[in-house]
Symmetry: C2
Subunit: 201 residues, 2 copies
């Protein structure tokens, strides 16, 4: 019999792949090998299921991010690590796809209980950048803009594989589109490019 955590794993995958509106409770129950009523008994309705997934996902991400702050002291290393943690899904967490959908959706299905996690995530970056500016390493920048660049570029790359491959197939000059770089490497490159843009020269 699958544990509640197993069910959440399956549900996260379905929500990530299909979105909230596209996800089917029947499909989640079937894929998790539990009866739909069991799912309702153990977790609750579709909203509760979604909230449970988000909570688990964000709690892990925030914990990793705040641990990262303790691990690195150098401001540039922290920016690199921020990008790395952002795209690092330990169990397949599907963080990027779910975040992207939620933002495009205007947070219509985002429960209030998740907002503090998001606030702390931005807080980590805000502190990192402020420290860098205080040390004279970075130009003064809007941390929220940096957040958009990092999160946007990383999550977009993390999720655009299927479309990229289709576009590559019809593009004559396809050298770059076919690269298939691992997301960790892309996150690194994005962080590096960003650092080039904010370093006080």
């Amino acid at each position: 019999m699958p544990s509640t955590d197993d069910i959440l794993d399956v549900a996260a995958a379905v929500f990530a792949e299909m979105g909230y509106a596209g996800a089917r409770v029947d499909e989640i129950a079937k894929a998790a090998n539990v009866n739909k009523a069991t799912l309702y008994y153990r977790i609750g309705d579709k909203d509760a299921l979604y909230e449970a997934i988000l909570k688990r996902m964000f709690a892990a991400k925030v914990a990793n991010m705040e641990h990262m702050l303790k691990t690195f002291d150098d401001a540039e290393d922290r920016v690199r690590a921020f990008a790395a943690v952002l795209v690092d899904d330990e169990h397949p967490e599907h963080f990027s796809a779910i975040m992207l959908r939620e933002i495009a959706n205007g947070g219509r299905n985002l429960p209030d209980s998740i907002l503090p996690f998001m606030s702390r995530l931005i807080g980590v970056l805000e502190q990192t950048l402020a420290d860098g500016v205080a040390q004279g390493r970075f130009k003064p920048v809007n941390p929220f803009m940096i957040h958009m660049i990092l999160v946007g570029a990383c999550t977009l790359y993390a999720t655009n594989g299927p479309i990229r491959r289709r576009v590559a197939k019809i593009t004559a000059h396809d050298s770059w589109l076919n690269a298939e770089l691992p997301i960790s490497q892309v996150a690194r490159a994005i962080a590096e490019m960003l650092l080039g843009g904010i370093r006080s020269s």
Copy 2:
């Protein structure tokens, strides 16, 4: 009596706000003040409606982008203009929200007929960057990565308003989140930061 174009305007807004799976054909018909059967007679089913919107949207975006190439000669100006055109929705086109959803969705509802437009969009940036490198202005870079940064950061900012405001409300240290910068200004800042990262110093 609303024209077919009027219907497409309304449908684009609904698809942008609710996503493909979340959009209701009945709702589109009602909001456009036409009977549902009229919509089916004039345009076709949900897929055809979605394809018509995407075609109109991408054709306009690609045309603007290729016109931009003729307007600007300087490589840096072209990168700035690329970002500006990306976020510029002349009629409220909802380009960003629909693109973001489509990517997060793995392009499941993206018809093949749209792929050439996407290819040309990337082509414009590829050419811009290649010219810049040839002129010794830019470091050699992966244009697709640049594309991810520009599209990711711009579209994310263009659509994250509702969530940003909710997070700002619960964040004590809210100075940056409350900025409410116009998207054109943000696109400019992102382009500028990016240029800082790729300029051959």
